[in-house]
């Protein structure tokens, strides 16, 4: 059975004349432990799908099923024990006046954990930061280190699905390699399921087993990574995307 399935999902913003249909009729399913990619240009709706799943885009219809449970419009607290999201910009996603300890401690507290101290230590070790970063503030961290903190925060709830919204596009390639390796390790250790949004086909090809190509709010093609590597795309838009990705 699939860990996450999306059937005929529509997401829109605004109403009347201002209504923008950001996602139309999107359907895909992700198996447990699988890593699924969403690619497409900005405005194609790929991040909006993640937002709808995680409850940040409240105006949607269709069917979203997480671990066998169909989601209603609101999100219950236990949902966030299963699904967590990592955002694109590590500079914007951490509070500038909260230390790493504060960020992780608060998250753990909100999820109802008791042994917060031991868990903060464990989380920092898990993401390869270690103790010496525990009482630092975001401005004392590099971009890669911040993204590690953001990943640690997502892992705090011990989720089973991570939604990754362009997790490395704000980082240097050498740092990107470190973060992607970290994500690969974490998925193997914790048996996580990933849904990863990226505009970089090479990154998606490296991380994901299957991917959906989006254009103008619709999924135009779902393909596996072997077809991607062999550049066997069926839809003309996917073919164009492959041509455009320089050297990938």
């Amino acid at each position: 059975m699939s860990m996450l399935s999306v059937e005929n999902l529509n997401v829109w913003f605004g109403r009347g004349h201002d209504r923008v249909n950001a996602v139309q009729g999107a359907s895909f399913a992700v198996d447990k432990g699988e890593s699924f990619g969403l690619v497409g240009e900005s405005g194609s709706g790929k991040s909006t799908i993640l937002k709808a799943i995680t409850g940040l885009a409240p105006t949607w219809d269709g069917k979203i099923t997480v671990d066998g449970q169909e989601l209603t419009q609101g999100r219950v607290k236990s949902f966030y024990k299963t699904v967590q999201m990592v955002f694109q910009d590590p500079y914007a996603s951490l509070h500038p006046r909260h230390s790493v300890d504060g960020v992780l401690g608060e998250t753990l507290h909100l999820h109802g954990f008791r042994d917060i101290d031991a868990r903060v230590v464990k989380l920092l070790d898990d993401v390869g930061l270690g103790q010496k970063f525990r009482f630092r503030y975001p401005h004392q961290l590099s971009g890669g280190q911040r993204q590690r903190v953001a990943i640690a925060r997502a892992l705090a709830a011990e989720p089973r699905i991570l939604l990754l919204d362009e997790p490395t596009s704000a980082l240097d390639v050498s740092v990107q390699a470190e973060i992607l390796n970290l994500l690969t390790d974490l998925r193997a250790e914790h048996g996580l399921t990933y849904v990863m949004v990226s505009h970089d086909l090479a990154v998606v090809g490296h991380m994901c087993g299957r991917l959906a190509v989006m254009k103008d709010s619709r999924i135009v093609e779902v393909m596996d990574v072997d077809s991607l590597r062999a550049r066997r795309a069926e839809h003309p838009y996917s073919q164009e995307l492959l041509r455009n990705s320089v050297g990938a």
Binding site: E41, V173, A177, A202, G205, H206, V246, G247
Partner: protein, 284 residues
Amino acid sequence: MTLLDVENLWVKFPTRQGVFDAVRGVSFTLGKERLGIVGESGSGKSMTGRAILRLIRPPGIVEADHIALEGRDLMQISEKEMRGVRGQQISMVMQDPKFSLNPVMTIGDQLVEAYRLAHKSGRSNARQASIAALESVSIRDPERVMRAYPHEMSGGMGQRIMIAMMLIPGPQILIADEPTSALDVSVQRQVLSIMDDLVTSRGMGLIFISHDLNLVADFCDRVLIMYAGRVVEVCDADKLHQATHPYTRGLLNSLPRLDQPRGKLDVLKRDPAWSDAPSVSGRA
């Protein structure tokens, strides 16, 4: 022909811990070509671009034996004369159009202002020229765009508008600092080819600053690879993938590739010797 000749450029920032050298002894020449400068964040590539335009604010210090623009040393001229160089002779396109366009002025007003500053012409004349400039960067419906505000534009359109605005004074050199990093791959191609066409047809020199090795290899003629404020390697762009310096190799190997699946990506191991070695000259 050499448009720009930079010799022994240093950018220094005094800090409490001593002087920090952001750029250390960089030399290069620029002809009518596309020169790429690649490196990671903090390697000094943007500082090099800014130092050429003397855009480093105090307490930052720029030192160079010379920065010669067609024989005229930009290090020697006054701030007032420098204002005639910025935009007029050397233009710069920054990374994110959201921050480089004025959010409370319409696109049209900004273009007209730029045109009138450069050409001392009337309003209606400037308006016609601005519409033509928008057309030259493949913007459909330029009349509507003229009336629009920057937040109504997509990133790709914003960046094309910036390019149009920067080219209005007819500069000899365009410095593009990560002009496409905020854009989608499909739009990236389009913006690059527009920039390429304009630069080539006007016989301009282009300094293209980017962190994206593949993009630079594909788009530029010559590449300087910077690390810790120094140029560690200079090569022809089409031979970038045969680069020999361990830093360049490390960067190339840390990129995931569709045609070479790997379980783990190579992580760059930094060698202190890379930052100690003298800067390689980028003279053509």
